[in-house]
Amino acid sequence: MSATDRSWEPSARELERRAVRRQRTRRDVTVATVALLLVLGLLGVGITSSPGWDSVRESFFNWGEAKASFPEVIRGFGKNIVIFLVAEPCILVLGVAVAVVRSTVSPVMLPFRVLAVVYADVFRGIPTILLVYLAGFGVPALRLTGVTTNTMWLGTGALVLSYGAYVSEVFRAGIESIHPSQLASADTLGLSRWQSMRYVVLPQATRRVAPPLLNDFISLQKDTALLSVIAVFEAMFSAQDYNNYHFNYTSLVVAAVLFICLTIPLTRFTDWLGRRALRRQFAGAR
């Protein structure tokens, strides 16, 4: 701004304050590090000194078995990824559609609203593992022509129906959180109900529900393992298969590690997205 600003030098008091702040930061970092090492150390000692540790290490954390089972488990894990990638877009479409139908007001839409409510209630009520069973074993038993009997795709359909119900509720919460004044101002511009939903409400709602939505998808990544109950050769089933032949559980730990490697990046991404949304919404406000 003015010349005096450029010539500004911190006063002795300010320098002293900065020294105090630095000193406090150093102290905080030291305390945090010591606390972390202490807790982790105690946990490690607690687990490894338990009486059964040696046999657990042999049957769950065996490096040789891990290497041997890895090719089989990772081949199965490829299926988990495919299931996830196919299911996710279907769930999004289904969830948005059901949520939008539920927020319509026109009398003609009543039957669809009823269907949407029944769908959401029923499919959120049934445990996902039961849905997977019913789809995987029940649908082929119907002997319908033209319907696949591939349990992998039937199981994926069950996941879509189950998660679609959850995601529709997430979207509905987002739609209902948009302030009525937004609808009023869309109305005054002459937008139709559908147009205000499409251009005004949904974009804002989606932004708002992104974190819980991604949370559901992290959950979906793990639940692809449920398809092991209908003998789909995905990571979990492959790991069990290995265990059946070699009597060692390390293959299951390998599958667990693979799932963690898949979910952690999405988890971090969700956190980052949530923080960014907060920063934008509350920029400069405190």
Binding site: P10, S11, E14, V20
Partner: protein, 246 residues
């Protein structure tokens, strides 16, 4: 008489942007200081620095004789003796007005429930809100909400009250209600610092008026001097724009 609050050479920057520079401010008990100046001149930032919502980048702030700009200071202790009211009221929407007003007295100051509620009801009554005590803030008008926010700040019996453009979000009809109460508080001897755009009010009530421009207190003095005979050209320009032509 010693100063209740004394700020010396206060400086605040956001990155490269200097928001406050070389700000000196001193006030004694029962003073009413009005900060005037255009938007972005640093009025709100100054209040937030005094209340420790923002850390200053240089300078010293003394409150009741203690340096509160020291990083080691007990911030909650300082704030428990300072009240602040915001432009957007910032009442807690999930609580009734009475709960809003008794939260800090009960949880921070450890005052028993009955006593805290009695004091809150007395103050609400004084401010014409006796029948609003059990309502939630969203059910009240803006003027009522702002008066409730004032009561909430007063319930902890602060020695200094900071008011940040408290009438800026109200329509003209409601501004009067709130200003009348601030005027009463001033007459009762409450020490206050206000950032305000209400020039007529500042002229009537203030003991000192400070004109801020680009983060500096360009000029300060009794309202009569500032409004009738400002020293700086910049102050004259500002007043010419905001005061109705007479």
């Amino acid at each position: 008489m010693t100063a209740l609050l004394e700020a010396t050479d206060v400086r605040k920057t956001y990155g490269d942007k200097v928001v406050l520079a070389d700000v000196d401010l001193s006030l004694e008990a029962h003073d009413v200081v009005c900060l005037i100046g255009s938007s972005g001149s640093g009025k709100s930032t100054l209040l937030r620095c005094l209340n420790l919502l923002e850390d200053v980048d240089d300078g010293v702030i003394l409150f009741e004789g203690d340096e509160i700009s020291d990083p080691r200071v007990d911030r909650r202790g300082v704030r428990s003796r300072m009240g602040m009211v915001f432009q957007a009221y910032n009442l807690f929407p999930h609580m009734t007005v009475l709960d809003n007003c008794t939260l800090a007295p009960r949880r921070v100051h450890g005052i028993p429930k009955d006593e805290a509620e009695q004091r809150a009801r007395d103050l609400l009554g004084q401010f014409g809100l006796a029948d609003q005590a059990d309502k939630h803030p969203d059910r009240m008008s803006g003027g009522q909400q702002q008066r409730a926010a004032l009561v909430r700040a007063l319930c902890t019996q602060p020695t200094l009250l900071l008011l940040d453009e408290i009438t800026a979000a109200l329509d003209p009809e409601l501004v009067g209600d709130v200003l009348r109460i601030v005027r009463e508080l001033a007459e009762q001897g409450t020490t206050m610092i206000l950032a305000t755009h209400e020039m007529a009010f500042a002229r009537d009530v203030a003991t000192t008026v400070c004109f801020l421009d680009q983060g500096r207190i360009l000029e300060h003095g009794p309202p009569a001097t500032i409004f009738s005979n400002p020293r700086e050209e910049r102050t004259r320009q500002f007043l010419a724009r905001v005061l109705p032509a007479s």
